[in-house]
Amino acid sequence: MRIVDVVVAGLLVLLHLVVHVGFGVGAAAPDLFTLALLIVARGLHMAGATGLGLFLGLLEDAQGLLAFGAHGFALAVVGALAARSRELFVGDSLLFVGAYLFVGKWLRDAVYWVAAGSQLRGSIGEALLVDAGLGAFYMTVVGLLVVFLTGALVAPRGVGS
């Protein structure tokens, strides 16, 4: 696991808490927990990534009163799959990173939709196609910017490669 990934993920977690919890910005701010998890999970063991996802999700759950554990479960699943993806998919192009982030975030929202229970979830079309799609796109754009600026997630390239 590269130190830059850890530092960037740590800063993203901190920023998420400041923006979402401290300043109360809602959907206008991107989901930086998921972005941090996706960045750092590919360098972690599967159990570690799952545990990290669970911890971040529980922090999210602790702010609400309903469906405690749904965020934790969703991020734990995403952490496990993100760590596993290292052995299934390899690549550091922006297209690959963009697809990885988009799918990761969309999957997180989809698992949350399932785990949140019937009382909280909206219609499947609106939740998974509109809300999750827009949220995933937003986070992907921010994620690509972070990756481009910090070099996190992508392996260092040699000269001439």
Partner: protein, 331 residues
């Protein structure tokens, strides 16, 4: 153990670990509310605490900001209220003054609203909202509680046109209030209306008129009744050829602020003397009168407070006496 087998074991361990964590996550999700609440509370009290504190301070700051805006709005409302109230108070004072004056002068005088045309060319000209039909005639004097304001020049059926004392054509036969020295008051226009001044001319050279002496209309020529205040002597303006003097006057009426006045109706005897209508203590400019009334109000309020305090003291003394008398009786 061959490396491949070790890798497979490691992968299996990782997978089992992830499954355990996922199982924990699933169990947490299924816990009843009573089991979830302590964990949520623990997280809020530890990892989330600084961020929740930040949120609280942000909300408090937003509340304070809203409160400041609310207070500012209240201050603005009170300011508007106070400003409009002061206008009403001033107008009330003016109208009361005219009512008093009207009752003292008798029925030959009528209250009018004074309007200004508002153009530079019509400076010193004023319009009165009643005319010939209501008994207004040319040369009728226009007065306020403070004194002579102007004169009507032209009377139309429903309104009249007049000039105030700042008009270059304004003239009034005048005298000192003691009736000792006579002269002619005329206007000396300035570059703008407020800069216009009144000049008392034709006073004999040997006359010694002190600053502050009140000048009133003399009644000569029957244009104005005798005794309407015009102004106070301010200073010597000129001595002409060793045989007459002229004096600058400080007018009682500030023509720019005249909005209501009294006009003599046609047929009113202008030969009557009205000197007694203005007693010595009432010869004041409008702002001096306002200051005096405010001081009077303050004095009245202070007197009211003193009476209240005395009444309270008396009540407490009486109460003590009654109490002690009652106490003595019971013993």
């Amino acid at each position: 153990m061959p490396p491949k087998v070790a890798d497979e074991n490691g992968a299996h361990r990782e997978f089992r670990g992830a499954l355990v964590v996922l199982a924990v996550a699933f169990i947490l999700l299924q816990l009843p509310e009573g089991g979830q609440a302590p964990l949520a509370s623990l997280l809020r009290g530890t990892a989330l605490r600084p961020f929740l504190a930040l949120q609280e301070s942000r909300v408090a700051a937003a509340d304070r900001s809203a409160r400041v805006e609310e207070l500012q709005a209240q201050i603005d409302s009170l300011t508007v209220d106070a400003v409009s109230r002061s206008t009403v108070v001033a107008e009330n004072r003016l109208l009361r003054g005219l009512l008093d004056l009207s009752s003292e002068l008798g029925p030959g005088w009528r209250a009018v609203r004074v309007l200004r045309p508002g153009t530079a060319e019509s400076r010193s000209t004023l319009l009165v909202d009643i005319g010939r039909r209501d008994g207004i005639a040319p040369r009728a004097p226009l007065i306020t509680r403070e004194g002579l304001a102007g004169v009507i020049r032209e009377a139309m059926p429903s309104q009249a046109v007049g000039m105030d004392w700042s008009h270059p054509d304004f003239r009034a036969s005048a005298m000192t209030r003691d009736g000792f020295w006579f002269g002619l008051v005329e206007s000396r226009p300035g570059r703008f209306q407020e800069a216009s001044r009144l000049l008392l001319s034709g006073v004999p050279f040997n006359a010694r008129v002190d600053a502050g002496t009140v000048v009133v209309t003399s009644g000569l020529g029957q244009a104005f009744p005798r005794g309407i205040p015009i102004g106070r002597i301010a200073s010597v303006a000129d001595s002409i050829g060793g045989w007459q003097k002229s004096y600058w006057l400080e007018p009682f009426v500030e023509v720019g602020s005249v909005t209501h006045a009294l006009v003599a109706l046609e047929g009113t005897t202008l030969r009557d003397e009205v000197t007694e209508t203005w007693t010595e203590s009432e010869l004041l400019r409008a702002e001096e009168r306002a200051r005096r009334l405010e001081a009077l109000d303050d004095s009245l309020q202070a007197a009211r407070d003193s009476v209240d305090r005395l009444r309270d003291s008396l009540r407490s003394l009486t109460g003590d006496t009654v109490t002690s008398a009652g106490g003595g009786g019971s013993e």
